[in-house]
Structures are given as structure tokens and as C-alpha cells.
């Protein structure tokens, strides 16, 4: 009887173990990262078909020239976000050797958890920076601990689009550069078209952290000349510039020039005449909105600045993502990954190929001066302003609490001002207090 009992317990236990083993997603190939002298590295590409095609082609070419390193490219899962997938993979022990699509804030979170390799500690890093001509760009990418965890692949200096066709109807031949010019446009727009808005975007009233990159930070970087909002664990926001940004939004709101309701393609339908535009939108318009023509229906400009601020070399937010190498990879894999990076970025042709496939400006200092890129930009004039703005683009904060901090900017300052619920001064004070509390 006892034997039977023990047998049943053993049976149940073995079933449980096999069940658990079946559920385990652990990458069994990891243990065989170096077999027959061939080092295999797993590379997760962004869940974007054009980027996957690019990385697959580049990896194939690399393996042809370096048969001792095999690069397996697979798409990064988005279940439900790419960040969540990466976190789960690291927690489950199935993280890749390297991946792209990492923003600076997320990299700061991963770096704080010792999940990333500081790239500057790997042999060959300095050569990569030099050969890719990105030493200046990289200065803004140094993390608070003085290490470099991310190699920025592209840098979208975010620009504002203006409906130039509507502006011309209002008597303007170019995009407003200062707040007073912008408010003048708003006044004339509401007089001529009461149903149109300057900025029609539901995200303005949404506290989701990343949404602040494409409204508050674009305006704030311009108004403050790229002032660091947070340094280490200290709030260093420029109060004057911040309040000027909030005042602009408050005046626009008062003049009924903002629409914060969900609208379908508001800029394309000219419901709003001002919108944050990334280079990816230009490619999207080619396919979906062929009527959107550069300098005919729309124009691109750097963010407007407060009156009295220099309107040349205006700073803006850089929507930029890059490559990281995970600390869970073996030493051999980390070295192989750096070899791959070095190979890719030692040739400008690979960046040209990237640009042609994705329309995302490579994060390098010589984008407007290197002849390799000239032909592309001649063919795509709408992307020229993005290339020109790369040196003025400010990457996002590198604080591990960036999600909380940017949510506070929305909840305490930007969203209530946009909804007319708070005055700019109170909003800034409340935000500063909440941020300082969160940084403690």
C-alpha cells in the first residue's frame, strides 16, 4: 500500500516536472554558442519588416566574410511591447546576444539591473565610433556612470510639420519660428476656419510617459537650448523655459486652437495644421497620402521658440534607438557581437543601405557632408531637414525612473495645462515637487 502511494506521488511529480519542462522557454542552443569553432550570436531586430530585411542581409554578408561567426537574426516579439518581451526573455534566461530598438530610458533601466554590457569596455569600441564618424553624437549618449551602453543606430531629430497650404491662405509663406508668430497664426486660423485647430492631437492630454517626447520635450529642448531636465538623481529643469512652454500651450488652449479628442489623421485632413513629424511619416505618406507633398501641402521646421531666443540651431528631441549587447551572453558571444558591429559600421555603404530601406537617418556626424549619403538626400528632399537637425537633437533622459518621471510631467503639468485645468506656474511647481519626490 505504501509502495503504491509512493509510486503515485512519484508519477505525479514526474508529470509535473515534464509539464514544467514543456513550458520552459529556455533557449537550449545557448549552451552551444560556440560549436566547431563557430560562435553563434542571436540578434533580435526591431519588429519592423524593413529593419528585419536589412539585418538579415547584413548578417548574411557578414557570415560570408567571417565564417567563424554566425548571426541569427529574428524579429523582436511585441507581447504586448518589445520592452516587455526583452524583460521576460532576460528573466527567463533566453535573452539574445544583442538587439536593436532600445531607447535610452529603457537602456538606463536595463543598465541599472546589470543586464547590459558597457560597450566601451569591449575591444574595438573606440574604432567603431571613429570609423562610423559618430564621436560627437556619442557624447550626448554617455550615461550617468560614464559608460556607453547603447550604440545609436538612427537619430530622428523630431521636427514639426506645418500645413503650408493653409499657412499660405492665412498670409504666411513659411512656418512660424517664434511663439508670437505661432499665436498670430492661431488667431488668424480661428478667424478664417473656426473648425480647424493649430494642434489636433489626443496625446496632448494623455499622461503616458513616452508621449511627452513628442510634445513637451520637443518644445522644451528648443526653449531651453537643450538643457538637461534630470542630471543623475537631481532635477535640473529650466524653470523659465518650462513655464514658457506651458504658457504657450495655455494660450493655445484658451484660444481654442488645441483639439485633444481622438481624431483620424488630423494633420493629413488639415483638421490641425501643426504636428510633430518623424522621418518615418514621410515614407508612410508616400504610400497612404500621396497628396501630401513637401513644400506644397506641408513644410518641416524646428520647434518654435519663445520670443527673444535665437531661431538658428534650435534644439529638438531626438527619437533615437540603438544596439545593445546583453550581459547574459558569453564572453565569446560578446566579442563576436562587437566584431559584427565593427564590420557593419566600418562601411558607410551599410548606413546608406539602412537609410534607403528604413528612411531613418543614421546617427553619425557626417550625414550632410559625406558624399555617400548625398544621392539619397537629393532624391528625398523632405528628409534633408532631418539630416541637418541631427547635431541639434537631444536624446531622451537616461534615468531608470524615466517612465515615472515623464508620467509626472504629463499628469502634473502638461496635461492639465492643455485641458485648461491649471495655470503654467502652478503646473510647473507641482511637477517639480512630484519629480523631486520621485527622485529621492
Amino acid at each position: 500500500m505504501k509502495v503504491k502511494k509512493v509510486a503515485s506521488v512519484l508519477l505525479a511529480a514526474s508529470l509535473a516536472v515534464s509539464g514544467l519542462a514543456a513550458c520552459s522557454g529556455k533557449d537550449q542552443s545557448k549552451g552551444e554558442s560556440s560549436k566547431d569553432g563557430v560562435t553563434t550570436i542571436e540578434f533580435w531586430a526591431a519588429p519592423n519588416p524593413t529593419q528585419q530585411v536589412y539585418w538579415k542581409e547584413v548578417a548574411q554578408q557578414f557570415t560570408k566574410e567571417n565564417p567563424k561567426i554566425k548571426v541569427n537574426v529574428s524579429p523582436m516579439k511585441e507581447s504586448p511591447t518589445s520592452e516587455a518581451s526583452i524583460q521576460s526573455a532576460i528573466a527567463g534566461g533566453s535573452a539574445p546576444t544583442m538587439s536593436e530598438n532600445i531607447n535610452r530610458g529603457f537602456a538606463a533601466q536595463l543598465a541599472e539591473s546589470k543586464a547590459l554590457v558597457p560597450l566601451d569596455t569591449l575591444a574595438g569600441w573606440d574604432e567603431v565610433k571613429k570609423e562610423r564618424n559618430m564621436e560627437n553624437t556619442m557624447k550626448g549618449w554617455q550615461f550617468a556612470d560614464s559608460h556607453q551602453y547603447v550604440l545609436p543606430i538612427y537619430s530622428n531629430a523630431m521636427l514639426f510639420g506645418w500645413r503650408i497650404d493653409v499657412l499660405k491662405e492665412l498670409g504666411y509663406n513659411e512656418a512660424p519660428k517664434t511663439y508670437s508668430e505661432m499665436l498670430d497664426v492661431a488667431k488668424k486660423l480661428k478667424q478664417k476656419y473656426p473648425d480647424k485647430y493649430v494642434w489636433a492631437k489626443a496625446d496632448l492630454a494623455d499622461p503616458t510617459a513616452w508621449k511627452r517626447w513628442f510634445d513637451f520635450f520637443m518644445l522644451y529642448d528648443a526653449a531651453s537650448n537643450g538643457n538637461k531636465f534630470i542630471e543623475g538623481t537631481k532635477f535640473t529643469g529650466d524653470q523659465k523655459a518650462g513655464e514658457q512652454v506651458l504658457t504657450l500651450m495655455a494660450v493655445l488652449q484658451k484660444n481654442k486652437a488645441l483639439l485633444t479628442k481622438q481624431a483620424k489623421d488630423p494633420f493629413e485632413n488639415a483638421l490641425g495644421i501643426f504636428s510633430d513629424i518623424g522621418p518615418w511619416t514621410i515614407a508612410y505618406w508616400k504610400d497612404k497620402f500621396p497628396k501630401m507633398k513637401y513644400n506644397e501641402t506641408y513644410t518641416l521646421s524646428l520647434p518654435p521658440v519663445p520670443d527673444g531666443v535665437d531661431t538658428t540651431n534650435v534644439k529638438t528631441f531626438a527619437d533615437t534607438k540603438g544596439l545593445v549587447i546583453y550581459a547574459s551572453a558569453t564572453k565569446a558571444q560578446q566579442e563576436a557581437a562587437m566584431k559584427f558591429i565593427k564590420w557593419v559600421y566600418s562601411k558607410p555603404e551599410n548606413d546608406v543601405k539602412w537609410l534607403e530601406k528604413t528612411s531613418l537617418p543614421p546617427a553619425r556626424d557626417d550625414l550632410t557632408t559625406n558624399d555617400s549619403f548625398k544621392a539619397f538626400f537629393d532624391k528625398n528632399p523632405a528628409l534633408q531637414p532631418y539630416a541637418a537637425a541631427v547635431p541639434n537633437a537631444i536624446p531622451p533622459m537616461d534615468n531608470a525612473k524615466y517612465n515615472d518621471l515623464q508620467t509626472i510631467i504629463g499628469q502634473q503639468a502638461f496635461n492639465p495645462v492643455v485641458k485648461g485645468e491649471k495655470d503654467p506656474k502652478t503646473a510647473w511647481q507641482d511637477m517639480q515637487k512630484a519629480i523631486e519626490g520621485a527622485l529621492k
Binding site: A16, I90, A91, S113, A205, P207, T260, K261, Q262, A400
Partner: protein, 292 residues
């Protein structure tokens, strides 16, 4: 004999027991452990913080909102889905033929992807959609569907009600089928009208099916995620911030797995107590109508 029966019982129950151990018990124990740490699952180090995560959660506006939002959803979604599923079941019940085909038709939304239906609704409710253009021009109504607290909550509840109506109607139809037709015949002889027939006979006799549907519907209100994630992100001002949304944003956006586990444990306790209380109330109502 008793021992053999017992063994057979355990054998037949073992697949579910195994499933429960793997997918409920182990994760529960793991969550309890995580909730007492400040671990983010990826850091090589962590420390035990005791009940600190729970204390922080009780003070958090997001968690407080999630607590009330679940009951607000319950107040809107449960009556809505019960009324709609009873109407659908009654309509199907009255059909002379093809009942099965119609029921399958109503059941299909249950299989639809929450992401897709949310995106369609987002398009329909956008400011410049034909629906809103019509409302503005014909009635001067300018509704901020996803930007005002009650409207956003109602829209999400309506999408979920649309999704579950067919499923619950299926359960209620089987409830209708099980009601003895002789009761209706006797009532008709007594001169009972259609209104009285429904409230005095059908509704009380539908108790077992209604009980199931009510408990399932209440369970749904504690697990809403996809629609909220796609449509409102928990806003405006936490008006649609459900438990799942709060757990997700803490665990995967802020990388606070320990804190998110504490919220998950609190959510489980709230869900358990709520369903227990509602179950008891339903049983009381059932007893008053002769169901033991």
C-alpha cells in the same frame, strides 16, 4: 472498494490538479515571494522589503483607482451584458428554426480579437468620424468619447458587453430550454400576461443559468485589459485604470516586478472577496425563490 474508487477519483482529477499546481499554485507562491522583494526579475541582486510594497500600493493613486474602477465597470458592464444576453436568448428562443445558426452568429464576437475590435471602435469614435460629424451637425453634440471619464468607461464596458453577450446568451438559452413548459401552460390558464410570465416564471426559474452568467460576468470585470490598453491606456485621469492595466504598467513599463506582484495579490484578494460576497447574495436570492 472505497480505496479503489478513491484512487480512480484522484486519477481522473489529476490532470486538473496538475494544471492547477503548475498554473495557479506555483505562480501564486512565486508572486507571494516576489511581492516581498524589490526585485525587477532581471537584476542579479534584490532585497526583501517585507510588506513595504503592500503599504506603497495602498497609498498609490493608480491602485486606489483600480479598486474603484473594477466596481464601476461592474455597475455598468454586468447589468448591460445580462440585459443584452437575456434579450438575445429570448429572441433566439422565439425563432421557429435555425436557432443554432443565430446563436453561433451572436457567439462570434467572443472569438474576435480585442485589439482589432478596439481599433475599429477607436476609428468609429474619432472626432472626425461620420458618427461624430453627424452628432455635431444634427444635435450639436460634441462628445469626447475616450477623453471624458464616464464616456470612456462606458465605451470600454460596451465593447466587452458586445464580446460576451453571445457567449452568455448561449448559457441562458440552455437555461430557458430547461424550464418545464407545463409551468407556462398552467400560467396561461390562470391568465398570466407576457410581462408577468417573464418576471414571475422565467426569471426565477432561470436562476441556475443566471447564477453562472453573473459570476462569470463579475469575474470579467476584474480582468479587463486589452480594450483599456488599446483605447484609453487607463485614462483619462485613471478613469479606466483596471487592476490588470496597473499590474502591467508597473511590471513591464516601470520594471517593478515585486511591487506589481503585491498589486496582483491585493487584486486577487479583492476579487475573491467580491465574488464570495456576490455569490452569497445570489444564493440568498435563489433560496427566496425556492433554489437550494
Amino acid at each position: 472498494m472505497r480505496t479503489k474508487e478513491g484512487r480512480l477519483g484522484w486519477l481522473f482529477a489529476s490532470p486538473y490538479l496538475l494544471y492547477a499546481v503548475v498554473f495557479f499554485l506555483i505562480p501564486l507562491v512565486w508572486s507571494l515571494f516576489l511581492s516581498a522583494t524589490n526585485w525587477n526579475l532581471i537584476s542579479p541582486t534584490f532585497s526583501f522589503v517585507g510588506i513595504q510594497n503592500y503599504l506603497e500600493a495602498f497609498k498609490s493613486p493608480g491602485v486606489q483607482a483600480a479598486f474603484f474602477v473594477a466596481f464601476k465597470f461592474m455597475a455598468v458592464f454586468v447589468p448591460l451584458v445580462i440585459a443584452l444576453s437575456i434579450i438575445v436568448a429570448l429572441i433566439v428562443q422565439g425563432l421557429p428554426r435555425f436557432k443554432g445558426i443565430f446563436l453561433i452568429g451572436f457567439f462570434l464576437p467572443y472569438l474576435a480579437s480585442g485589439v482589432v475590435s478596439s481599433l475599429i471602435v477607436k476609428g468609429i469614435l474619432s472626432y472626425n468620424s461620420p458618427v461624430n460629424e453627424f452628432l455635431r451637425k444634427a444635435f450639436g453634440l460634441d462628445i469626447d468619447w475616450l477623453g471624458s471619464p464616464f464616456a470612456a468607461l462606458f465605451v470600454v464596458a460596451l465593447i466587452i458587453a458586445w464580446k460576451f453577450t453571445g457567449y452568455y446568451a448561449l448559457i441562458l438559452t440552455s437555461g430557458f430550454e430547461s424550464i418545464n413548459k407545463e409551468v407556462y401552460e398552467a400560467a396561461m390558464i390562470d391568465g398570466v400576461n407576457a410581462w408577468q410570465r417573464f418576471w414571475k416564471i422565467t426569471f426565477p426559474l432561470l436562476y441556475p443559468a443566471l447564477y453562472t452568467v453573473l459570476i462569470l460576468a463579475i469575474g470579467v470585470t476584474f480582468g479587463i485589459f486589452t480594450e483599456v490598453y488599446q483605447l484609453t491606456g487607463g485614462g483619462p485621469n485613471f478613469a479606466t485604470n483596471t487592476w490588470q492595466m496597473e499590474i502591467f504598467s508597473r511590471a513591464f513599463t516601470n520594471l517593478q516586478a515585486g511591487y506589481a506582484s503585491a498589486i496582483a495579490i491585493i487584486a486577487s484578494v479583492v476579487t475573491f472577496i467580491s465574488i464570495y460576497v456576490i455569490r452569497k447574495l445570489l444564493e440568498l436570492w435563489g433560496k427566496r425563490n425556492g433554489w437550494d
